[in-house]
């Protein structure tokens, strides 16, 4: 007798085993696909463009990746001054509303689902919340993934914040630089032309504007000039500089050309309160030259270098200040009167010349400047150009520490 039943039973067992293996294969494939999806989501998380997004956009993108990474249907980032929710978009409006309600109410009770909460490292009161529809709870692996996302949210948010601060700082710096450059527009671009005088003038701004100023005006055949330096650098110095230039122009028109000290007093009256509130001062050398009278009159309010060499003289004289800079109410401005016969030279610079250092830290100094005054046959142009070139050469590629301004006046034969 042939036994048939065991064959059928074996076949059934084999079929059952086959089905089980197929199920396992499908589960393995599903797990593999899920792992691949998560890897792709982790990759996407790392590629969020922090530099081009606002802080909230960075968080939203991270929360969206967290949906994929953790199989969640809604995620929420909650911290002081920040509360952002992202909900999966493939649901109907009714379910989206349910998910929003569930994550807003900090409970998934209204929903058939589960909820997970992890702290955001390094962020006080920072939480990452996720909810998932259905009965499948968050696994240990899901929770570890949520913790990873929470850490990423914290870091990406900080990066976005720092990037924003950096952009803000760069914007302010650019605007300050632009404003400082615009302020320079008040300065003359060329030396004035007046019979009986050879005039060299140059003003070179440092990378961070130093507040140097230079003003010329010819009033009734007399040359008025002023060279000054606002203490400090950047936009505050540039702003004070423009006000000082305006005050000087008015003073040139309203003051007696035989007494430049009067112009300094007028500028001080105009600016003292302003300078007091700005906590700055302005060094000023203000003078007049009347080529017909062959006379130089000058008032030094704390300015240097200011050097004079008379006609037929080989030595130069430093014209000392008679009062401190404008903005320091101490002492009285006084006018010094000097012969300005043909061949006489006056040099007025700013401290950016003397204080330029070389790569070893040695300053150019005042003695080197005075050396350019002692050559008898040098005209104003030659003295000016040579001195500026020498300061450049001394710097040997070092950046200009301050603005460099130089005016050289030389009396020449007066021809009407």
């Amino acid at each position: 007798m042939i036994a048939v039943a065991p064959v059928a039973s074996s076949e059934a067992v084999l079929r059952g085993e086959l089905d089980r293996l197929r199920d396992e294969r499908d589960s393995a494939i599903a797990a593999l696909v899920d792992t691949q999806d998560r890897l792709a989501a982790v990759g996407a998380l790392m590629q969020i463009p922090v530099a081009t997004l606002e802080e909230n956009e960075v968080i939203e993108r991270t929360l969206a990746e967290a949906l994929e990474l953790t199989g969640s249907d809604a995620t929420r980032f909650s911290a002081e001054n920040s509360d952002i929710v992202v909900i999966a978009q493939h649901y109907s409006p009714v379910i989206v509303q349910e998910l929003r309600f569930a994550i807003d109410k900090k409970s998934a009770d209204q929903l058939t689902g589960t909820r997970a909460v992890v702290p955001v490292p390094g962020l006080q009161s920072g939480l990452l919340i996720a909810i998932r529809r259905g009965k499948k709870p968050y696994s240990t692996g899901d929770l570890q993934m949520l913790e990873t996302v929470a850490a990423a949210v914290g870091k990406l948010r900080e990066l976005a914040h720092r990037h924003y601060d950096e952009v803000q700082r760069a914007t302010i710096e650019r605007e300050h630089r632009l404003a400082s450059e615009l302020a320079q527009a008040v300065l003359p671009t060329s030396a004035p032309s007046i019979a009986g005088l050879d005039v060299y003038s140059q003003c070179v701004q440092a990378a961070v504007t130093g507040g140097d100023l230079l003003v010329f005006s010819v009033v009734g055949g007399v040359l008025w000039f002023a060279v000054g330096d606002v203490a400090g650098k950047g936009l505050p110095a540039a702003t004070v500089m423009t006000r000082t230039v305006s005050a000087l122009r008015v003073a040139f028109l309203t003051s007696n050309s035989t007494n430049p000290a009067g112009a300094v007093e007028a500028v001080a009256r105009e600016l003292n309160a302003y300078l007091d509130s700005a906590e700055l001062f302005v060094t000023l050398a203000v003078g007049t030259v009347n080529p017909q009278e062959k006379t130089l009159r000058i008032c030094n309010a704390g300015h240097s270098p200011l050097m004079y060499r008379g006609a037929n003289s080989f030595s130069c004289r430093i014209i000392d200040p008679t009062c401190p800079p404008v903005g320091v109410p101490f002492g009285t401005p006084t006018t010094v009167e000097l012969d300005f016969e043909s061949g006489s030279v006056l040099l007025v610079g700013t401290d950016g010349l003397a204080e330029q250092d070389d790569p070893q830290g040695n300053l150019f100094g005042y003695e080197r400047i005075s050396g350019f005054m002692s050559e008898q046959d040098s005209g104003a142009q030659k003295i000016g150009r040579n001195l500026m070139a020498a300061v450049d050469e001394h710097a040997a590629g070092m950046p200009a520490a301050d603005d460099r301004t130089l005016v050289v006046l030389q009396a020449v034969e007066f021809q009407q």
């Binding site: 400090g232 030094n300 000392d320 009062c323 903005g327």
Partner: protein, 105 residues
Amino acid sequence: MKIEVTHNDKKVLIGLEGRFDAHEVQDFRSTLDPLLESGSWISADLSEVVFIDSSALAELVRARKRARAAEGEFIVSALSDSARVIFELTGLTAALTTARTDFGQ
């Protein structure tokens, strides 16, 4: 720049050493402002200052103004040679080294 603060009875001595320029102004201000607000008699010793620029001079003028606003005083009591040259060139020697005659009376 090295800044050393020494309290001596009701007076405060500020010793400065090194370069005093625009980069050092903020540190100097942070050290000095609490003392200025208290109306102290403050004396700054610049004998070890190797370089001083106009930003630093403006800071000294500011300190003097603030000290007097708080009914205190701020003076520069000693100068290195390089600092002395700059003080003379800017006409600030008398303005910053002369104390109020009525202080403490």
